[in-house]
């Protein structure tokens, strides 16, 4: 199958900021030794270079639909990227430290287009609600003002409390998190503002956590089991987040037990 390889390779090295970079050992396909490669994660594409300043990637792993697991290996800090299609290759990798391994596993397991789409839809929905509330004469009411509306309280309150539970659990385990740079992240009226063209996107509406109507089944989820890592079989963002949090927690437990 053809791929627009030149443009894909260009995407790897163009100045759009990567989501994660670093050295990892990757197990070869025919030559089963582990080779040290420089990895660049951008969106749902994991590129690898021979050298850190390589001009062109040696290869790319399209991560959509993958699962990331710890693996049994003589190598320390090893993990594997797996796919559920027939005869799929398993990509075995190893990091240099526990922290690096955790960080990569977390980053890769959330690299999918579907995950990004889910978060975008959730924020889009939230912004619409806020704007509606403001437009309804409750200017400046903010989020607190929304909970007074029965429909929204039913839609939102339950899901948020379960996410809160998950977050506390995850936080209690003491993930090594990078310093929060919220101040950095909020440039008021910054150049990153993109005017959404007002399209209600009704065709693709996923209707996250909407009890008022059955959400359309997102294309990928049909037939996938609830246990399937990348297709939790739900359009509910809180559940998806819940699932991701648990996956990472499980991996950590597995690793701790193996020590």
């Amino acid at each position: 199958m053809k791929l627009n390889e030149r443009s894909v390779a260009h995407y790897a090295t163009c100045d759009s900021p990567p989501d994660k970079t670093g050295f990892l050992f990757k197990k070869g396909e025919r030559n089963t030794a582990y080779h040290r490669r420089w990895f660049v994660l951008k969106s749902n594409m994991l590129f690898y270079f021979e050298e850190r300043d390589g001009r062109e990637p040696i290869g790319v792993i399209v991560l959509e639909g993958c699962t990331v697991e710890l693996c049994e290996s003589a190598e320390e800090f090893a993990f594997a990227v797996k796919f559920d299609c027939a005869k799929a290759r398993v990509y075995k990798m190893a990091a240099d430290s526990q922290a690096a391994m955790e960080s990569w596993v977390k980053a890769l397991s959330r690299a999918s287009f579907d995950y990004m789409r889910l978060v975008v839809k959730e924020l889009e929905r939230q912004l619409e609600e806020i704007q509606e509330a403001a437009g309804g004469g409750c200017a400046g009411a903010g989020v607190a003002g929304l909970q007074g509306r029965p429909k929204l309280a039913r839609r939102n309150y339950v899901s948020r409390s379960s996410i809160q539970d998950e977050v506390h659990r995850e936080n209690g385990v003491g993930w090594s998190k990078p310093p929060v740079a919220l101040a950095n992240g909020f440039v008021e009226g910054g150049s990153s503002c993109v005017a959404w063209d007002g399209c209600a996107d009704s065709g693709n509406s996923i209707g996250i956590c909407d009890g008022a109507r059955a959400p359309p089944v997102p294309p990928r989820r049909r037939g996938a089991s609830l246990e399937s890592p990348v297709s939790p079989g739900t359009v509910c963002f809180s559940k998806l987040h819940d699932w991701y949090g648990r996956e990472v927690e499980d991996l950590r437990t597995q690793w701790l037990q193996s020590q």
Binding site: R6, S16, F83, C85, D96, L123, R160
Partner: protein
């Protein structure tokens, strides 16, 4: 450049909301318009010979420009090769518009920009970071200028 072809082919088989028979012409000189089943799955555009199961090819829809060519046709150009156009002929002006819109929105980078906009706007209106309640505020992919704020612990650079 190596890529995981089997997995990409498998991705092409997923149900898609945007799939149709369009006329498609490749970017090379001498390429002619051919009827293809064109299918949009996440940020890839797959194209098949009608009734074939395996796609002939895939286009990653990042760093590309979508332009209207005439009332029923549009083109996709990749920023690194601006002279090479992939041309698509639709059955109607409406269908053409729908495809253009869908392809533009199919880019991960486009979604990221919108997410950042929503996040910033919600924070401006409410004083709260909407991602914080989900515990994902720190994820690099959600940062305004993620290239600049990677702390040592966030990357495993050795």
């Amino acid at each position: 450049m190596r890529f995981n072809e089997k997995e990409l082919v498998s991705l092409s088989r997923q149900p898609s909301e945007m799939a149709a028979e369009l006329g498609m012409r490749g970017p090379k000189k001498g390429d002619v318009v051919k009827k293809r089943l064109v299918k949009l799955v996440v940020n890839f555009l797959f194209y098949f010979r009608t009734d074939e199961e395996e796609p002939i090819g895939a286009l990653l829809l990042e760093q590309c420009r979508v332009e209207r060519e005439d009332s029923q046709s549009f083109s996709i150009t990749f920023l690194d090769e601006a002279e090479r156009k992939y041309l698509f002929e639709c059955d109607s002006e409406e269908q053409c518009g729908e495809w253009m819109d869908s392809i533009i929105k199919a880019s991960y980078e486009f979604m990221r920009k919108n997410l950042i906009f929503y996040r910033t706007e919600i924070h401006r209106l409410t004083g709260k970071d909407p991602l914080e309640q989900y515990g994902i505020s720190d994820e690099t992919r959600f940062q305004v200028s993620n290239g600049l704020q990677l702390a040592p612990s966030a990357t495993s650079s050795l």
